[in-house]
């Protein structure tokens, strides 16, 4: 028998393992990309010949963080300059400071415009959130200050609206007499340049291409992975993938490379697809599952979003009396799709924002499970933002997991309280406390690019439940820091059916680590979002995060 290869022992300021048997340690041993041992360096020496590595001697090590609801589009959008109200970090580590008024947006666009070489190329930017500009909406005249010649489109943070300058309006043919509801107008009937929803935005897409197609390709994957690295994420899912060659080919290519700093999962988007074909597609991909690239789950989308008033909300509906939202698939279709994929043994991620949608999804799951019980199915409600306590009890009874959109508490909490669902139901949104108390397996997510990928920030949201204005939303649903750290590691890994491999620092698991400069368990809970990420380790390979500026307030 050949002598085992020497292994590495990494000493650290502290190792937070998320393993209750051994919650804390001072070193880990790594061999063949996996955790060989956890403990004191002297104990680890018992495994034999090894080398000490002190690159993490001053660092805190955690299991690599897991983002269980995101889109590779986050990587694609960074082709364009970011002009959002909240600060954000680009894949190259560049910090994009917050832009708090239209002048600041114009200045940033001028810089970007100056860098475009092709004088004919349109300028596209993203992330604008004028809800936060105190009532002032952007108009074409604002963007004309950037250029009167070059067509400009600024996509809003919600991806449902964009602003165009005069050159863009002229180029794409949006006119005064265009009879479309989504064209926002001045009192005199002239388009302001703000175009809302697909119909009104489509003429601009004819000029700039469909921005939603930007999530495909190696570049988007690399950019996404760099953002993940900066956030300490070592595993993420692309949750709305069509699993065609055009989408999967580039992922296969990047995931084969050892310098690609991320494990990826991809779920098939099952809406509008014959489930027989869907099952076939997932099965074919699953047969080629690799260490770094996993298939086997299906996403179904039931309703829209609460802030767009398209979520399906149970009685008494929206706070302002708005009509109820829109189904993406009818409840009866959902039931048929859930049954088909469940019977095929696949895992379901079901997008439900409103509480009516959560109820319908649970009905469908209950029927499928009653007819065909299946242990350990791990079907997961995604978002379930408005789910009430009774719905969490049903999740518990059915063995259904939940992945909560905790970032909403911060980004849209004020809007939900004042406008969408009102002050009472806003308190129970993204009820991690209830999930914890009832024992529903739960994770929390960013839905990047809707909000930036950053599980430590997501954990901060669930722990503090503070809105952007600083108000506390539903104190009773707060969870502790330790529970939040579990949710963004083991909890998320559980919903990806990867908890046997990742999510905690335990012997036999993959050597996937988040490398931190601060100890999240030793700082005040309010400071959790300020924890600095220095890098990651993925399968024993160390990656340094680009230097990153944190500036929350």
């Amino acid at each position: 028998m050949p002598a085992p290869k020497p292994f590495l022992v990494y000493r650290a300021r502290r190792v937070i393992t998320l393993n209750p048997v051994q919650p804390s340690a001072s070193a880990i041993a790594v061999r063949d990309g996996c955790i060989l041992g956890v403990g004191e360096p002297s104990q680890l020496a018992g495994w034999g010949e090894h080398r000490l590595n002190d690159r993490y001697a001053e660092c805190v090590l955690m299991p690599g963080l897991v983002e269980a609801h995101s889109h590779l589009l986050e990587g694609g959008m960074w082709e364009y300059p970011y002009v959002g109200f909240y600060p954000r970090n680009g894949p190259d580590g560049r910090h994009w400071p917050a832009l708090h008024d239209i002048d600041a947006v114009v200045d940033r666009l001028r810089e970007a415009e100056a860098q475009l070489e092709d004088p004919e190329a349109p300028l596209v930017a993203w992330g604008l959130d004028p809800i936060l500009f105190g009532g002032r909406r952007m108009v074409a005249g604002d963007l004309d200050r950037v250029s009167t010649r070059r067509p400009i489109a600024v996509i809003h943070a919600n991806f449902h609206v964009l602003n165009a300058n005069s050159a863009m309006l002229a180029r794409c043919g949006v006119r005064r007499d265009s009879e479309v509801e989504g064209i926002v107008r001045e009192q005199n009937g002239e388009p302001t340049g703000e175009l809302s929803e697909m119909a009104a935005m489509f003429p601009v897409f004819r000029v700039i291409g469909d921005p939603f197609a930007r999530g495909r390709g190696e570049r988007a994957a690399w950019n996404f992975a760099r953002l993940a690295l900066s956030a300490g994420v070592t595993t993420a899912i692309d949750i709305t993938n069509d699993l065609t060659d055009a989408s999967v080919g580039p992922l296969r290519k990047v995931c084969e490379r050892e310098d690609f700093p991320l494990r990826l999962a991809a779920a098939l988007f099952g809406n509008g697809l014959d489930p027989r074909e869907g099952i076939e597609r997932v099965r074919a991909r699953e047969a080629c599952n690799a260490d770094r690239l996993r298939f086997g789950s299906v996403k179904l989308m039931t309703d829209g979003s609460i802030q767009s008033f398209t979520a399906r909300v149970a009685w008494p509906g929206y706070y302002g009396g708005q009509p109820n939202g829109m189904w993406n698939i009818a409840p009866i279709q959902l039931e048929a799709l859930v049954a088909a994929y469940h019977d095929a043994g696949l895992q379901l991620h079901i997008h439900t924002n409103g509480d009516e949608a959560s109820g319908v999804a649970l009905d469908a799951l209950e029927r499928a499970l009653a007819r065909n019980p299946r242990p350990d199915h791990r079907h997961t409600l995604q978002h379930a933002q408005m789910a009430d306590a009774a719905q969490f009890r049903r999740m518990r009874a059915l063995g259904v997991c939940v992945n909560l959109f905790a970032n909403h508490l911060y980004y849209w909490g004020d809007v939900h309280r004042a406008l969408t669902i009102g002050p009472d139901r806003a308190q129970r949104m993204n009820a991690a406390g209830t999930a914890q108390r009832l024992g529903v397996p739960y994770a929390m997510h960013s839905d990047a690019p809707i909000t930036p990928i950053g599980p430590l920030f997501t954990a901060w949201c669930a722990v503090n439940r503070r809105t952007a204005s600083g108000q506390v939303l539903g104190e009773g649903e707060r969870i502790g820091v330790d529970d939040a750290l579990r949710a963004i590691t083991l909890g998320a890994a559980y919903t990806l059916r990867l908890d046997g491999e990742i999510g905690s620092i335990e012997v036999g698991k993959r050597a996937d680590l988040a490398v931190l400069a601060d100890d999240p368990l030793a700082i005040p809970a309010e400071a959790l979002r300020e924890v600095r990420v220095l890098g990651t380790m993925v399968g024993g390979v160390a990656f340094d995060a680009p230097p990153r500026v944190q500036s929350w307030e």
Binding site: M198, F212, D242, G272, L273, W327, N328, E356
Partner: protein, 322 residues
Amino acid sequence: MISASSSRPIPVTVVGGFLGAGKTSLVNGILEQSEERRIAVLVNDFGALCVDASLVSARSARTISLANGCICCTLVDGLAQALLDVLQFDPPPDHLLVEASGVSDPRRIAQVGRADPALADGGTLVLVAADQIRALACDRYVGDTVLRQLVAADLIALNKVDLVTDADAQAVASWLHEKAPQARVIRTVNARLPCDIVLGPAARPDGRDDRHRYRYRVPSAANDVCATFSTETLRCSGALSERHLRQALDALPDSVLRAKGYVRLDTAPGDWRVVQAVGRRWSLAPAPATVPGGDSVLVLIGAAGTMRLDDSIAIVRVFRRA
């Protein structure tokens, strides 16, 4: 990446209706009888289309081109991507037919035809199943969705009338008039409707009489259906009064389901305008491209035996007067 083209805008017709209302049957029927038009159909599920494999001339991930010039495009990557795909075809299709999903609001989709200068509003047809619609409208979860579809319609095809008694069909039709007073209701079976009802008449300004076109256009299996529709053609050599024409279009009888034509107006006798009406909505727009001279012509389509176009009807008087 294309800039707005100056060619004729392509009409977009939206077919809506809840699951089981007959949308796919309708789309299949249209593809069968397209003959003279190159139609691009944008559908949710390729698999449900009855496309004869021998008629497929080309296929890509999102589109199938048929030998008769029609194109099928999947909506799996969203309506925007599908539209970008079909607008890339050269020559462009004559007409776009979008099959809305069973729960979507056709009004939202129809907006697309009004926004882009390359596209035009081709009307919204909503199918309802005669035996199910009233129960669906009371459904706890989808009742509001179904009612929203009805109010989005220019034309409602009351489908599957063979599954209910005449009295029930009448009761449903009355109920539809109440819930969707803006829409005109057509009864049908197996979602069989002539192309000219769904897409609008292919009227041409060359004076050709379009009266009997269905005879050869609709396949024989649907003869019972085409027999229930008729066309009337109004024609005159002089310029029409724009004011009277607008008033007459507002007062089109309920029996007229669609109308299309090319006319010259007294306000600008040298220019051709295109008139289109679907249900209660109509438009009068500059006729794109070159129109050969000749008479002003308007083709009207309605249920057989219901369109009595005599002098009591304003639109008839407008053409007589000119």
